[in-house]
C-alpha cells in the first residue's frame, strides 16, 4: 500500500513538472516582412481568426446593435467607399458628385457580380439602399430624410438631396457595410426582417459565406469571379485582393480557452490581455498596433441641473484630482497610451492633451477649481460596472480631494438604461468608445450627446455636417469644438488602448485602421492549409 501511494505521488509530481515546464516551439516573435513576396506567391492558405463576439446574422443591414463587421466587410460592399484620406472612392459603383455634393449619381462598375453569379444591376443598388435606410438607425437618421428624389435611367441612379449633410454620404460609404448592396429579390424577400438563411447571404465582396455554425464559425471562401476596383489609394476602400483561399471567423467568448487556442496555433489572429500579452513573444506571436482609438473616458451628467456636476468648476476639480495613469492601469490589462485626443488624423487636435486638468493628479489645481465652485458637500455618484477597477481609483482620488463620493455598481445593460435618463441621481459614468476612421460628427452619441448639453456643441457638430470631411473648414470647426470640449469638461478622455490583437509571425496582416482580411497573406501559404 505504501509503495502504491508513493508511486502515485511520484507520478502526480512528474505530471505536474511536465505540465508546468512544457512549452510549444518558440520563435523570435518578430513579424514577417512580406513586402518582398511576389504577388503570385501570396495566394493560398487558410486564415483562422478569433473574435469574442459577433452578431448572429447574415444581414449587413441588421448589424447595428451587435457589431459584427469582423466578417461582413469581406462578403458585402457598399455602393461607394472612402480612402485613407477620407475621400470617396468607387466600390460596387462608380459615382459622380456635383460641386456642392447635393446630387449623387451611381452606376454599377463593369463586371461586378453577386456571389450567385448574377450581374449587379442598378436596381439592386437602389433596393439595397432603400432597405438599409428603413432598417439601419444611422441611415434612417442621415440618409432617408435628406433624399429629395431618386431616379433610375439607363443604368444610372441619381439621388438628389434636400441639402448637403456630410453624414448622408459618410454612412452610405461607411466601412460598416450598413448600405451593402444585396440582390433586389433578397431585399424584397426579407423586407425589414433580418436575413437568416445561408443561401441568401449574397454579397459582392472578395469572399462568400461557405459555411456557418451558430454563434461559432463563419467560414468564408474566396469568390473567384470578384472584380476589384483599381486604384492606388489606401484605407478600407483600397483595391481588395483575396490572397487567402479561406478565412475562418471563430467566435469564442471565453478568455482562457481562446488564449490557449491562440498560443496553440488553433487561431492565427486573436486577442490577448493581461500577462498573456507578455507571453505573446514566447509563442512567436506578433502584436498589431491598433491604429483606431478605443477611448477610456468618463462623462459627467451635465443634463441634470440638480446634480453638483452641472457646475463646470466641480467637473474640472474632479478631472484634476484623478490620476489618469492610475485610471488606465486599473481599467485595462492591455497596453495603453495616455492620450486625450478622441479622433484620428487629420482630427487629432492636441488641444485635448493640453488641458490643465489632464494627466497626473493635481490636488492643488483641483482645490482651486473646487473653491471657485458652488459645491456644498453633496454626494457625488459614479456609475460603474461590477468589480470596476477605475471606480476604486476614482473613489480614492476624490476622497483625497475631500469630496463626498459614492459608487453605484450596475451591470452594463442596466447602466445604459439608467443613464439613458439623465434625471436619475448620478454624476459620473465611466465608459469606452471606439473611433474607427470617422469624422467628429460621426462620433458615437455616448460622448457626443448622451451626457453633454451645450448649444455651442450642437451648433458646431451641425456645422461640421455642412462641409466636406477632412477639409480645412471641417478641421477648423473641429478645433473650435475641441477647445469647447476641453473648456466645458463634460467628457474626460483618459487614455486609449493600443495593441490588443496578436497574430502568427508568418502572417502579413492588413490593418489600415481596421482589421481587414482582404490583402492579408501568408509568407508561406503552403504551410497554412
Amino acid at each position: 500500500m505504501k509503495k502504491v501511494l508513493a508511486l502515485t505521488l511520484a507520478l502526480v509530481l512528474l505530471l505536474g513538472l511536465v505540465a508546468c515546464g512544457a512549452k510549444p516551439g518558440t520563435t523570435t516573435g518578430e513579424g514577417a516582412n512580406g513586402a518582398d513576396i511576389p504577388e503570385e506567391a501570396r495566394y493560398g492558405g487558410v486564415l483562422n481568426k478569433q473574435y469574442g463576439s459577433c452578431a448572429d446574422t447574415f444581414d449587413p443591414h441588421y448589424t447595428t446593435g451587435w457589431v459584427s463587421y469582423a466578417w461582413t466587410n469581406n462578403v458585402y460592399e457598399n455602393p461607394i467607399a472612402r480612402d485613407d484620406q477620407g475621400n470617396f472612392v468607387p466600390c460596387v459603383c462608380d459615382f459622380e458628385l456635383n460641386e456642392d455634393m447635393t446630387v449623387l449619381k451611381l452606376w454599377v462598375r463593369e463586371g461586378v457580380t453577386f456571389h450567385n453569379g448574377d450581374p449587379v444591376e442598378i436596381e439592386d443598388v437602389v433596393a439595397s439602399i432603400e432597405r438599409s435606410a428603413s432598417m439601419v438607425s444611422n441611415m434612417k437618421k442621415y440618409w432617408a430624410p435628406y433624399v429629395a428624389s431618386v431616379t433610375v435611367e439607363d443604368g444610372v441612379a441619381t439621388y438628389t438631396f434636400t441639402e448637403f449633410n456630410i453624414n448622408t454620404l459618410l454612412y452610405v460609404a461607411h466601412w460598416a457595410t450598413w448600405a451593402a448592396v444585396l440582390p433586389q429579390e433578397v431585399c424584397e424577400k426579407y423586407g425589414a426582417d433580418p436575413i437568416n438563411q445561408l443561401e441568401d447571404a449574397i454579397g459582392t465582396g472578395p469572399y462568400y459565406v461557405a459555411e456557418y455554425q451558430t454563434n461559432s464559425l463563419y467560414r468564408l471562401n474566396r469568390y473567384d469571379a470578384y472584380v476589384a476596383v483599381e486604384g492606388d489609394w489606401g484605407g478600407y476602400g483600397q483595391t481588395k485582393k483575396a490572397y487567402m483561399d479561406q478565412i475562418n471567423i471563430w467566435i469564442n467568448q471565453d478568455a482562457t480557452s481562446s488564449v490557449m487556442a491562440l498560443f496553440n496555433g488553433d487561431y492565427d489572429i486573436g486577442s490577448l490581455s493581461g500577462e498573456y500579452v507578455t507571453m505573446a513573444a514566447d509563442y512567436g506571436l506578433v502584436g498589431i498596433k491598433n491604429p483606431q482609438k478605443n477611448m477610456m473616458a468618463m462623462a459627467f451628467n451635465t443634463l441634470n441641473p440638480n446634480r453638483p456636476t452641472s457646475d463646470v468648476n466641480v467637473r474640472k476639480a474632479i478631472a484634476a484630482a484623478i490620476d489618469y495613469d492610475s485610471m488606465a492601469q486599473a481599467w485595462t490589462e492591455e497596453a495603453y497610451e495616455i492620450d486625450a485626443r478622441p479622433m484620428m488624423a487629420p482630427y487629432d487636435d492636441d488641444v485635448f492633451n493640453t488641458a490643465d486638468y489632464q494627466g497626473a493628479a493635481n490636488l492643488e489645481l483641483a482645490k482651486e477649481y473646487l473653491a471657485k465652485s458652488n459645491y456644498n458637500g453633496e454626494e457625488i455618484v459614479l456609475l460603474a460596472g461590477p468589480g470596476s477597477g477605475p471606480a476604486i481609483i476614482w473613489d480614492a482620488n476624490l476622497k483625497a480631494l475631500g469630496l463626498n463620493v459614492k459608487i453605484e455598481y450596475m451591470e452594463g445593460t442596466t447602466r445604459k438604461a439608467y443613464y439613458g435618463d439623465n434625471s436619475n441621481p448620478y454624476d459620473c459614468v465611466t465608459f469606452e468608445y471606439e473611433v474607427k476612421d470617422s469624422v467628429p460628427c460621426q462620433l458615437s452619441s455616448t460622448p457626443r450627446e448622451k451626457f453633454w448639453g451645450s448649444e455651442l456643441k450642437d451648433k458646431l457638430f451641425a456645422d461640421m455636417t455642412k462641409v466636406p470631411a477632412a477639409s480645412e473648414e471641417s478641421i477648423a470647426i473641429w478645433h473650435e469644438l475641441a477647445q469647447h470640449w476641453v473648456d466645458d469638461c463634460s467628457v474626460v478622455n483618459f487614455a486609449t488602448f493600443t495593441t490588443s490583437r496578436f497574430h502568427h509571425p508568418d502572417l502579413v496582416p492588413n490593418y489600415p485602421g481596421l482589421e481587414f482580411d482582404y490583402n492579408a497573406y501568408w509568407v508561406n501559404p503552403a504551410e497554412h492549409q
Binding site: T64, W66, P194, M260, E411, T413, K416, A417
Partner: protein, 316 residues
C-alpha cells in the same frame, strides 16, 4: 401503474403553470432593457421608446401575462431579439452537446463515484476510507470553473491531450470526435459530482451491510467479499441508479459554466448569452424547456423507482 402515471402527469400541470408564471415575472424583473443591445448605443430615446412599444412592454403587466400565456399555448414562442430567428430554431442542434455532455459526465461520475463509495463502505473508518473521502471532497470544494480552466491549460494546452475548446457535431465528425471534444468538460463536471455520488453510495452500502440478512449470510459462513459484492451490492445498485438518474438532470442544469469555459455551443451557453443580452424570448424558452425536462425526468424517476422497488408507496 397507468393510474399512477396519469396522476403524476396531472399533478405536474399546476407545477408547470407556476413555472410559467415565475419565468414571466423573473425575466421582467431584470433591470435594463434589451432595446440598448438591439438598437445599439447610438439609438435615440425615441427609437428605444418605439421599440419597447412595438414589443408590448408598455402594456399593463396583466395584458402582457395573458398574451404570454396565449402565445405559449398556441405555440408562438417568439423570435430571438439577437438574430431574428425562431427560438426553437436557435436551440436546434444545441441540444446535442448539452445532452451528450450530461450523459458523459454522469458516466464519469458513476464510474468513479460508485466504486469509491463501495470501497469506502467496505473499509469503513480505515485509512483508505479517509483518503478516498478526502479525495472526493477536494472536488467538491474546488470551484468548477477553476478546475475547468486548469484542465484547459494543463491537459489541453501543455500536454496537448485534448482540444482546448470547441465541439464537433456527430453528423460532421462522428461520435468519437464529439466525445473527444467533450472529454475535458465531462471530466470536470463529472468530478464535481463524484463526492455526492460516493457519499450516497457509501451511506446506502452501510445501511445494507447493517441489515439482518447480511449478518445471517456471514453467520452461515459466506466469505466477506461474497456477502458484500453478491448480496449487499445488488440491493444498493437499484437505489444508486435512481440517484444517478436524478444527477443527469443536475448535469443538464450545470452545463452552463462548462459550455462557456470550453466554448461549446450548447443550451447552457445559449441561456447565459441570452440572459446577458436581455433576449427575453430566447431566455424564457430555454428556462421553460429545461423546467419541463426536469418535471418530466422527476416523473420518470418516480416510475423507475416504483419499478425497481414495487414496495415503494407514494401514497396514491
Amino acid at each position: 401503474m397507468a393510474k399512477f402515471l396519469f396522476k403524476r402527469i396531472l399533478s405536474a400541470i399546476p407545477t408547470m403553470l407556476i413555472v410559467l408564471t415565475l419565468v414571466f415575472i423573473l425575466v421582467r424583473l431584470l433591470p435594463g432593457s434589451a432595446a440598448y443591445d438591439v438598437l445599439g448605443d447610438d439609438a435615440t430615446p425615441e427609437q428605444i421608446e418605439a421599440w419597447e412599444e412595438e414589443q408590448g412592454f408598455n402594456d399593463p403587466i396583466y395584458i402582457q401575462y395573458v398574451r404570454y400565456l396565449k402565445d405559449i399555448v398556441t405555440g408562438n414562442w417568439g423570435t430571438s431579439y439577437f438574430n431574428g430567428r425562431g427560438v426553437f430554431e436557435n436551440m436546434g442542434n444545441r441540444y446535442e452537446p448539452t445532452i451528450l455532455l450530461a450523459l458523459f459526465s454522469t458516466v464519469i461520475t458513476v464510474l468513479i463515484g460508485v466504486p469509491i463509495g463501495i470501497v469506502s463502505a467496505t473499509h469503513r473508518n480505515s485509512f483508505l476510507d479517509y483518503a478516498l473521502t478526502t479525495f472526493t471532497l477536494l472536488f467538491l470544494i474546488i470551484p468548477g470553473f477553476w478546475l475547468a480552466a486548469m484542465m484547459v491549460y494543463v491537459l489541453g494546452f501543455q500536454l496537448q491531450l485534448f482540444p482546448v475548446q470547441g465541439y464537433k457535431y456527430m453528423a460532421d465528425a462522428g461520435i468519437f470526435q464529439s466525445l473527444y471534444h467533450l472529454a475535458m468538460p465531462a471530466l470536470a463536471m463529472g468530478m464535481m459530482h463524484v463526492a455526492s455520488t460516493a457519499r450516497n453510495t457509501r451511506s446506502a452500502m452501510l445501511d445494507v451491510l447493517n441489515e439482518d440478512y447480511i449478518r445471517t449470510a456471514r453467520a452461515k459462513g459466506l466469505s466477506k467479499s461474497k456477502v458484500q459484492y453478491k448480496h449487499a451490492l445488488k440491493n444498493v445498485i437499484s437505489l444508486v441508479a435512481t440517484l444517478i438518474f436524478g444527477s443527469v438532470a443536475q448535469m443538464l442544469g450545470g452545463s452552463t459554466i462548462m459550455e462557456k469555459v470550453f466554448n461549446i455551443e450548447g443550451i447552457g451557453k445559449l441561456a447565459y448569452d441570452s440572459l446577458m443580452r436581455r433576449d427575453y424570448p430566447q431566455e424564457q424558452t430555454i428556462v421553460l424547456m429545461m423546467s419541463f425536462i426536469f418535471i418530466a425526468m422527476n416523473i420518470l424517476l418516480d416510475i423507475i423507482y416504483k419499478l425497481v422497488d414495487p414496495r415503494v408507496d407514494f401514497g396514491d
